[in-house]
Subunit: 500 residues, 2 copies
């Protein structure tokens, strides 16, 4: 059996190497690739995707898994080996359902659609992107069909990002929290507004970058195994063991843009920097799902980065770095400023209280497009109408409306709801962390984050993707994913800030 | 036959895609990869190399070539199709001789040895690199053995970079020019020395980069299909159609370092930017050999970039950009400064008159290591002794001695002599260009380079690697590679500068 396991790991090592190349090409496409390279890049990504599909779905692999399963069943069910076989089986069964032509089609479509999206976004003209969006919706419809039978076609897409999660469960969780979030926003709207003018001073790019580096280094992001680069739409990329990169954008006239996004991406990257080398080059290396991933990024961005203890530590340093900009602004004013609740157009810059509403809107649109109840040509209208309904404001153009996110341009459907689920999980973890580290706030006040990162490393990161999201959340917190603690967190925090 | 050709092109397309990924990973390794990523990168490059080898040496490919050969023999022998079959056959026959394990070994060795070389160079300590150099020499000895019988083991290595070229031919060419170059250097040494103090003023990095961009854009390097990034050891990288990147290093206290190297790398990149899309994703896409490649980089760097007409155009712009640094320095003084002949330790910064001697030294050492007449442990001594003998000066440490070049750290043996051959070819082309464009100097004086680049595009670049180096040089200039015109060029130029 050891020989069989070794064979399986060899195949996985090859897949990891192709994944590494794909990650590097994807990262380069966003950071440094010249415009003329689009077509060649598309060809290469399509080929790498096709090869990974061929290798990963080879009958030989299926046979190896089959031979290993009886042996794995006798191991400790939580052991790396047992989980490796289970998780690999799941991936294999899913992969063999997708014909190689469709894998290549998706890769090529992503490259072309992304290029069109860039142009469309720059010109704020959805019609440039529309023909590609047609193809993307059509592709996802055909993709879902491959996995029949299902309760809902959207389940198929969701499962690619959130293993074992169902559309009905997500809808239920969202339905539970929605009225409470809406009520909270209404209460805030009727309260005295906070002064966030300090955020709109001029903060030079180089100084912001130095600040960000200082903060995420303190968090524990390891620059020896990573780096930060400038992009249009920030992301974290896992190149494999020893190389987890993050990206940023920066607005010299709005403080929040850079700093909260770099904390966010560092949160993602620290998850993967915390996965042990023993799991590398296998299906267990990497975060277990997008929602769990997002719980890490949102935890560092919001529960740490937008907390009062954090700014008790960092605000004096900020004042030293930006004396002119922060002149006469108290810690309390600054803390309230970075937590200002205000419906805005851009999801990634929206506050904690409104964020999930951005997600619910996207989820409904994706389901509508997939079901055909929303036409691709009507997307801007469908977006703007819902936006106005939920958040009370209407986007003025496509760039701040339906073109703001990069995801669809890569063909990614079923992805967005994981962002909201991540928020919920972060609050569930936070409760547990504060039980286990009673002086966490004091540590934060002195810029000390090693106990926090150590806890996350031990409880979550160390497991890589051994356990599915609902299972790992249950193991750590004792409950399945739900919004109770997140709603309580929001209410506590914003009652304080807005004196509700 | 059309079907067979299409099949062959599909295989080549896949190889081109793997080559694209390999180029991107190699470029990233030199530009942006964090130190922690070394091992993962090595794994990935080894896998990509192994896959390319497997696909390229598949019996199916051999059969396709065999089936296409009778048909190709009936085509115009200069047609793309006929040459495609011939060139692919040559590559296939070479590739099948190398076992897959050795391909993977080379890739892994290159990654590890390169990391060791970086450290060794930084600490100027050859002993850090020595164990890897042992492995590299051993590898190249075993590699040469695969291609028995041969006139000389070194022929095998040379042929990988310079198709069909023999060690004996190179030795003969070098023997012809060596006494003449030595004589010229002696004459210069006895002449009145030029004042190059202007080069050692402070030139801020950002201003240098802006200058470089202006100049290479004027040459015709297309930034829409390329970019320049900072590295330790500059190179050009061909990612495939539409993406030819160049890299640089910069010394704010020595003018020559950046500008001549960026002209050089742009010369390489413009060669590949000039290859038509119709040849892309085949064995004919890319420069035909390293020497012909080098003829392009050296032509732009030296025959254009170090010429008087060029500085007649650019010196006023340089004065405007760097008024303090160039104050009181005449065009003539500046022109002489950038052409100063002086034996120095670093090949890439050596002048035109001494450059080839750096190469001859390396050629002898490589042959000695391969034959076993020089031991790896003795390399620093062997290097320094020869250096003193040829150039009259002795390196003070390993960093400015045998650790200066990156090539060996990648396992590249047989590569260096192509640099000197490139110099010779550039002079052969230059003679022909001046016949065909009689007012070339006047065009250069007005910063107009489109006729020159157009000539190179038409006569050389358009052919990609259809014709082997000796053949393409013969086709364009009427002679095989030889040093007569280069020696004449050196004598004319430096007689003028030094009043010999």
């Amino acid at each position: 059996m050891e020989e069989k396991l070794k064979e399986l790991k060899q195949v996985m090592g090859t897949l990891a190497d192709l994944g590494h190349a794909t990650a590097a090409l994807g990262w380069d496409q966003e950071t440094y690739m010249p415009p003329g390279g689009v077509e060649t890049r598309g060809n290469a990504l399509a080929t790498l995707g096709r090869m990974a599909q061929e290798i990963g779905t080879d009958e030989k692999v299926g046979k190896l898994i089959e031979e290993l399963e009886p042996w794995a069943a006798e191991q400790d069910p939580d052991s790396d080996e047992a989980r490796l076989v289970v998780v690999t089986r799941r991936g294999y069964d899913k992969a063999v359902k997708v014909p190689p032509e469709m894998v290549a089609e998706r890769a090529m479509l992503a490259t072309q659609a992304n290029a069109a999206w860039r142009e469309a976004r720059q010109k704020s003209d959805y019609t440039i992107f529309e023909p590609f969006m047609e193809k993307i919706v059509d592709f996802n419809q055909r993709y879902a069909e491959l996995f029949k039978p299902f309760d809902h076609a959207y389940d198929v897409l969701l499962d690619d990002y959130e293993p074992m999660m169902k559309t009905a469960d997500v809808k239920k969780i969202f339905a539970d929290i929605r009225p409470q979030q809406v009520k909270l926003i209404e209460a805030v709207a009727n309260a005295e507004q906070v002064d966030d003018s300090v955020l709109f001073k001029f903060y030079p790019e180089q100084d912001q970058l130095a600040m960000g580096e200082e903060i995420i280094k303190a968090f524990g992001y390891d620059f020896n195994r990573g780096r930060q680069d400038k992009v249009h739409h920030p992301f974290a990329s896992n190149f494999g063991y020893g190389d987890q990169r993050i990206t940023y954008r920066v607005d010299e006239n709005f403080f929040n843009t850079y700093i909260f996004s770099i904390m966010h991406e560092a949160g993602h990257a620290m998850y993967e920097q915390g996965i042990p080398k023993s799991l590398s080059r296998t299906a267990l290396y990497g975060g277990t799902s997008l929602a769990v991933h997002e719980s890490q990024s949102r935890l560092w961005e919001n529960l740490v980065g937008r907390s009062l203890p954090f700014w008790e530590w960092y605000y004096p340093k900020l004042q030293a770095r930006f004396p002119e900009q922060t002149k006469g602004v108290s810690l309390e004013t600054f803390y309230k400023a970075v937590n200002k609740v205000e419906p805005s157009f851009i999801r990634v810059e929206s506050d904690e209280a409104t964020y999930n509403l951005h997600i619910m809107l996207r989820l409904e649109i994706e389901i509508g497009l997939l079901e055909g109840s929303i036409k691709v040509s009507e997307l801007p209208e469908a977006w703007n109408d819902r936006f106005e309904e939920y958040l009370g404001i209407r986007p003025k153009n496509d760039a701040e409306g339906c073109l703001q996110d990069i995801h669809w341009s890569f063909g990614l459907f079923g992805y967005f709801s994981t962002y909201a689920l991540g928020n919920l999980i972060s609050a569930q973890l936070w409760e547990k962390i504060n039980e286990d580290i009673p002086d966490l706030d004091d540590q934060t006040r002195s810029g000390e984050f090693s106990a926090l990162l150590g806890w996350l490393n031990e409880k979550l990161h160390a497991h890589g993707s051994k356990f599915y999201p609902q299972d790992i959340v249950q193991r750590i917190t004792g409950s399945k994913i739900n919004g109770d603690l997140y709603i309580r967190y929001l209410k506590d925090k914003f009652s304080g800030i807005y004196g509700l």
